[in-house]
């Protein structure tokens, strides 16, 4: 049983070496704070609800253009809605593969 465990660990270490060869800046603590913080922050989008609600109120009086076919373009010309916004990665937490 301990032989199997040794074999298991050496396989894992080989895989770890592969990963570090590809991403030399990989963080030292994989299961640590960064990784968990990213998990806790799933679903974050930055969105100005003030703009959205004001634009919605104006819609009652005049026709404002809504999001065009290019949903990635969110500028001042049309009403932003939560659905139009791409998922934004928090700037506080970097990708698990970056340094």
């Amino acid at each position: 049983d301990s032989q199997e465990k040794d074999k298991g660990i050496s396989l894992e270490r080989a895989e770890e070496a592969k990963l570090k060869a590809k991403y030399p800046n990989l963080g030292q603590k994989p299961g640590g704070s960064d990784f968990l913080m990213k998990r806790l922050q799933k679903g974050q989008k930055y969105f100005d609800s003030g703009d959205y609600n004001m634009a919605k109120a104006k819609m009652k009086n005049k026709q404002l253009p809504s999001a065009g076919p290019d949903k990635n373009l969110v500028t001042g010309d049309h009403i932003p809605t939560p659905q139009d916004l791409p998922q934004r990665k928090s700037s506080l937490v970097t990708s698990k593969l970056a340094g």
Partner: protein, 394 residues
């Protein structure tokens, strides 16, 4: 099975309803997905079925009821609902119930909202049939099924300084018989058993189940693959089973320092951890389940079932120590034929009918399986389909 006198019919869709809608939390700029994370049935008390379903933030109690008759023969209403002119009514009759096509209605009876800052991963109904718990990454709350505006926090592992966060709650379940006992698992592979009689806030565990690890035997992946994705008590409550990325472990509640049994689900993936990390599969959360208690093995938890990749699922027999790999796919199995056992070739020469690790499809994952509470019928969920299998009839 000679004692079975009835024949098993086929399963058909009974009811379809939208449980949750997508929401946007404006205050926190958080998108709340409508995706259901867990469903739990309540024990049946009357003709209707009740279930709890939860997304990341809100738990709902649904009542599913059948209507198979309707009243006919009103005096003041036509059959289509229009009101009759009372002056045209010359005789009276007694309305009667007549059969109609079965209609299944789902209605939300309770909505339990605004109690979780983080994402709900588990719900579990207590054996008192009055309360239930809901668990998110850092907290566990206790609810009463009748009360939606209040819940009690029973576990809080949020550190004062979030920089010190080292582990999160991954699953939680009430003990099947002891209504003050529950367990919760963590991303570090530990399980804590708590007793609500000890204190209002169960931050200090009564038991801590953890398999010791030699610190020199750790790799970059050790903690990630030790994260427990599911925990399930056995029917008697004497044992519990945990699922981590590569194995299923059975724990005796009387022994905290190591599991009594360990079953390897797909050990061959250990040599693929690098690419499984890159494609995020290493974070997949597989569930596990026990056999139901049929006539012959009442209240014994003898068989473990769990999913894997390539639409494979595995079963382990605790008595015989035998295991089997089966596949849930239409191409490879005709209806009503016996499933052929599958085998993955880890390395070396691949035998005929074996599948090599490199040709496994990691997009075809079976995360959810369920066993009928009383019969040997199982439900296996692939990405887009639900399969129902039963053991072969003699």
């Amino acid at each position: 099975n000679k004692t079975q006198s009835h024949s098993r019919g086929e399963y058909n869709v009974y009811s379809t309803f939208q449980s949750h809608e997508p929401e946007f939390d404006y205050l926190k700029s958080l998108e709340i997905e409508e995706k259901i994370n867990k469903i739990r049935w309540l024990p049946q008390k009357n003709a209707a079925q009740f279930l709890l379903s939860t997304n990341d933030k809100t738990i709902k109690l649904w009542k599913i009821s059948e209507r198979d008759k309707r009243p006919e023969g009103y005096n003041l209403k036509e059959e289509d609902g229009r009101y009759r002119d009372p002056t045209t009514v010359t005789t009276l009759r007694v309305p009667v119930f007549r059969p109609m096509d079965l209609m299944v209605e789902a209605s939300p009876r309770r909505i339990f909202a605004n109690a979780h800052t983080y994402h709900i991963n588990s719900i579990s109904i207590n054996s008192d049939y009055e309360t239930y718990l809901s668990a998110d990454d850092l907290r566990i709350n206790l609810w009463h099924l009748e009360i939606t505006d209040r819940s009690f926090n029973i576990v809080d592992i949020k550190p004062a300084n979030m920089e010190e966060l080292t582990e999160v709650i991954t699953a939680a379940e009430f003990h099947p018989n002891s209504c003050s006992t529950f367990v919760y698992s963590s991303s570090k592979g530990t399980i804590r058993l708590c007793d609500m009689r000890a204190s209002a806030l169960c931050d200090r565990h009564s038991k801590l189940f953890e398999e010791p690890e030699d610190p020199s035997n750790r790799s970059f992946f050790s903690e990630i693959i030790s994260s427990i994705s599911d925990v399930k008590f056995s029917h008697s409550g004497r044992y519990m089973m945990t699922r981590d990325y590569l194995s299923v472990k059975i724990w005796d509640l009387n022994m905290e320092n190591r599991p009594v049994e360990t079953y390897q689900v797909h050990e061959y993936l250990r040599s693929k951890l690098c690419s499984l990390y890159e494609n995020d599969c290493i974070f997949d959360k597989f569930e596990c389940c026990w056999n139901g208690s049929d006539r012959q093995v009442e209240f014994l938890s003898l068989i473990v079932m769990t999913g894997s990749y390539n639409n494979f699922f595995r079963m382990f027999d605790r008595n015989t120590k035998r295991d089997i790999t089966l596949e849930a796919s239409r191409e490879n199995n005709k209806p009503r034929t016996v499933l052929k056992p599958r085998k993955v070739c880890a390395s070396g020469k691949r035998k005929k009918d074996e599948i090599s690790v490199d040709s496994l499809d990691f997009n075809k994952k079976i995360l959810h399986t369920a066993w009928h509470p009383k019969e040997n019928i199982i439900a296996v969920a692939t990405t887009n389909n639900l399969y129902i299998f039963q053991d072969k009839m003699n």
